[in-house]
């Protein structure tokens, strides 16, 4: 049933496949982000309590969800690499880490810029904020470990262990607003059943969320391809590809 997946375990096939994927993903990213951001900034109604500061929501929530989603993807990749010794999984984990770190930083910064006018403070050591900050440090640790070893297999193993240990942080972030009495508000979008949001506010959110997810996909693909080349630099197909690329660069 899953046999069609097998060729994609080949680095060369994956390299060319993601290369073909990037232009399509980029076009969709531009489309969704352009519609989503303009809608969020100019056309979505202002919140009845928070006024126009509520528009930060359209950055903050997608960034925060993606920071956790990308970590989860990285953990799945780390687990796959550890259990089945599947080398491409390490390359994808290394590609995911910097993207996740940037989305975590955006979630923290936009959160601070939203917290200042709403709560009166940029930062507070509340459970949700603190656990999200720990997520940023986990990402930084994983990136550092990937770069700390010359041997990429060893680096992948070390970073993978940290990634899997850090998974415990994901449910803590997710349920922090329910387990503890936090200043951070509860979830509005991902409630079971009906989201407690008006439909005119929800649509631009969906566009923004998809747009940012696609953008993350594009950047992960670009970084994944660099990782593949780096890890397979002595293979004949990489040698052929590199010399062909160099010729086109020189002829320009």
């Amino acid at each position: 049933m899953w046999k069609w997946l097998h060729p994609y375990a080949n680095p060369e096939v994956s390299y060319h496949f993601t290369g073909k994927l990037i232009p399509w993903l980029s076009a969709l990213t531009v489309l969704f982000l352009a519609i989503g951001i303009v809608w969020a900034l100019a056309f979505a109604p202002a919140d009845y309590q928070q006024g126009d500061s509520f528009r930060i929501f359209y950055l903050h929530v997608p960034a925060a969800s993606l920071s956790m989603g990308l970590y989860f993807a990285m953990a799945v990749a780390a687990f796959t690499s550890m259990v089945w010794q599947f080398k491409l999984a390490d390359a994808s984990a290394a590609a995911l880490a910097p993207v996740g770190a940037v989305f975590t930083a955006i979630a923290l910064i936009t959160g601070a810029a939203w917290g200042k006018p709403m709560w009166g403070t940029w930062w507070i050591w509340d459970a949700r904020l603190t656990s999200e900050l720990i997520l940023l440090f986990l990402y930084l640790g994983v990136i550092a470990l990937h770069n700390a070893f010359e041997d990429k297999n060893l680096a992948g193993k070390a970073a993978g262990i940290l990634t899997l240990v850090g998974v415990i942080n994901l449910p803590i972030i997710k349920y922090s607003v329910e387990w503890w009495n936090t200043l951070h508000q509860g979830s509005t979008v991902s409630k079971l059943g009906k989201p407690s949001m008006s439909i005119e506010m929800l649509w631009p959110f969906l566009f923004c969320f998809l747009g940012f997810a696609l953008l993350a996909g594009v950047i992960v693909c670009i970084r994944f391809r660099s990782e593949i080349l780096n890890r397979n630099s002595i293979r004949p197909w990489v040698r052929d590809l590199v010399s062909a690329q160099l010729k086109t660069l020189e002829s320009k």
Partner: protein, 78 residues
């Protein structure tokens, strides 16, 4: 459209600073990540090519030396 004028749009109901700070920082961070990733990809290709050139050159030198050696040996044995 929720705003009457461009001024009102920039002002964001008094929250302009916070809203534009958020959107500005996010844009800068994401664009930096995107362009550094693209630049990194080119750099990786260049580094592999340089290493390849160096290896090819070494191989060539080794081959030349070996050829010279055999010519000398042939000359001596004559």
């Amino acid at each position: 459209m929720q705003f009457d004028s461009f001024q009102a749009f920039l002002n964001m109901g008094g929250y302009g600073f916070y809203v534009w700070l958020s959107f500005g920082v996010s844009t800068v961070l994401l664009l930096t990540l995107l362009f550094s990733s693209l630049k990194n990809h080119k750099q990786v290709i260049k580094n592999i090519a340089l290493r390849q050139q160096r290896e090819d050159k070494l191989r060539q030198v080794r081959k030349n030396r070996q050829n010279a050696q055999t010519t000398i040996e042939n000359e001596v044995s004559k």
